[in-house]
């Protein structure tokens, strides 16, 4: 009985709504270990035709071909993408926005925090705006948010936070410089969005 109840007691109550969590002081951790820069263009047109005619193998080959086509489109922007400090841009914007409103205290160190907001960076890059015939792409950024208590137990989340840029254009219009500027602006905007979700929870 003891062996059964011990791990159960260690589990924290996970809140469905962020409002149910009383945050006294917050630490922010940005996790970029799983981030992946992508161009999503050909992959958006993926249909079931290959699967219908050639089964799972056909679908896999078709999917790989689309991914390879998109990878080739991403290649010119890869050096710029690799140099973008997304982690820092998101974290700085998030902390600055929280500090400006002063409704949630930022902890001096993670050890002092009642809660830790974990922001995991997922896929990001350029995605086609809509189905064809639209050929414009726009920068996008996917984040996964979760909140841990002082003992590191998840109390809220994971929740996905998707951000898109206001700028859409043909892929060729995204030079390394314009792409860098757009992604920097989007990362800062995403950081503000996350902070605003906490402030106005």
């Amino acid at each position: 009985m003891l062996a059964w109840s011990a791990p159960t007691a260690a589990l924290a109550q996970r809140a469905a709504d962020l409002r149910q969590v009383e945050i006294v002081s917050l630490s922010v951790r940005i996790d970029a270990s799983g981030d992946e820069f992508k161009v999503i263009d050909a992959r958006m047109d993926e249909t079931a035709t290959a699967a219908v005619f050639f089964g799972l193998v056909g679908a896999t080959i078709n999917s790989a071909a689309n991914a390879a086509e998109d990878d080739a489109k991403a290649d010119p922007l890869r050096p710029t993408a690799a140099a973008l400090p997304l982690e820092q841009l998101i974290g700085d914007a998030l902390r600055a926005r929280l500090a400006s409103r002063n409704t949630i205290a930022l902890a001096a160190s993670p050890q002092d925090a009642s809660h830790t907001l974990v922001v995991e960076i997922g896929d990001w890059g350029l995605i086609r705006r809509a189905q064809r015939p639209d050929t414009f792409v726009r920068p996008f950024l996917k984040l996964n948010l979760s909140l841990l208590d002082a003992r590191g137990r998840p109390v809220w989340g994971p929740q996905r936070e998707h951000s898109i840029s206001q700028t859409a254009a043909e892929l060729s219009a995204f030079t390394p410089e314009t792409f860098r500027l757009e992604m920097e602006a989007l990362a800062a905007r995403a950081g503000h969005q996350v902070a605003n979700r906490l402030i106005y929870r």
Binding site: A48, A51, V52, R160, I164, H192, N196, Y200
Partner: protein
């Protein structure tokens, strides 16, 4: 015999479910105050939303295991009306006043995407919904768009499976995310606040450059 009839009825109900149109009854989210509440109270009209979706007959497809479209997912109310209600809710929840056609400022929107979809994995299904609209703050005295923003709400869940109840939850989640993002728009807040700024004093005639 009973088993055969039961099996036939189950197969029939599943086939109908997969091939017909399932209409979801969606609800505008309960709006909460956000960044827009930081702007001074302003009277804003929310006129009917222009529906610019590529396919206006459905909000999603029902596909079989091979991905072939078998049926449609629709809504009992036009999606534009639900999004309009969501925007009205955000205006009111942020201490602004819903005005009529005579209001000087309007939040004019174009609905671009209202789509439910899913990806089937080996042991789970990921459902996701997207609501995307361009929202513009219009000054009706000049017809000028003072601010324009594309707002996209997104919601996803990975579960073992689900039917209309799950699909409704997904689309309501996307609507809620759309409303939250609009309510937390810093650009729109600044544009609304700017409508209260005192107009700049006209330049004195003798200050004009002369050639």
């Amino acid at each position: 015999m009973l088993k055969v009839v039961s099996a036939l009825m189950l197969a029939g109900s599943l086939a109908a479910c997969a091939t017909g149109t399932t209409n979801l009854t969606l609800a505008a989210p309960q709006a909460r105050p956000g960044v827009l509440s930081e702007a001074p109270a302003t009277t804003l009209d929310v006129p009917a939303i222009r529906d610019a979706r590529q396919n206006q007959t459905r909000i999603g497809d029902k596909r079989n295991g091979y991905g072939m479209v078998m049926g449609a997912v629709g809504t009992t109310q036009p999606p534009a009306a639900t999004v309009e209600a969501a925007i009205e809710g955000i205006v009111a929840a942020n201490n602004h006043v819903l005005g009529g056609e005579s209001a000087r400022y309007a939040l004019q929107s174009t609905l671009n995407t209202f789509w439910f979809d899913y990806r089937t994995g080996l042991v789970s299904v990921e459902f996701f919904g997207t609501v995307n609209a361009e929202v513009a703050l219009i000054d009706r005295t000049t017809g000028a768009a003072l601010y324009t923003e594309t707002v996209e709400g997104y919601y996803s869940e990975r579960t073992g499976g689900g039917l209309s109840q799950t699909w409704t939850r997904i689309m309501n989640g996307a609507l809620a995310d759309f409303a939250t993002k609009l309510g937390n728009s810093e650009g729109l807040k600044e544009a609304i606040a700017a409508t209260h700024a005192a107009p700049a004093a006209p330049a004195a005639a003798d200050a004009a450059p002369t050639s």
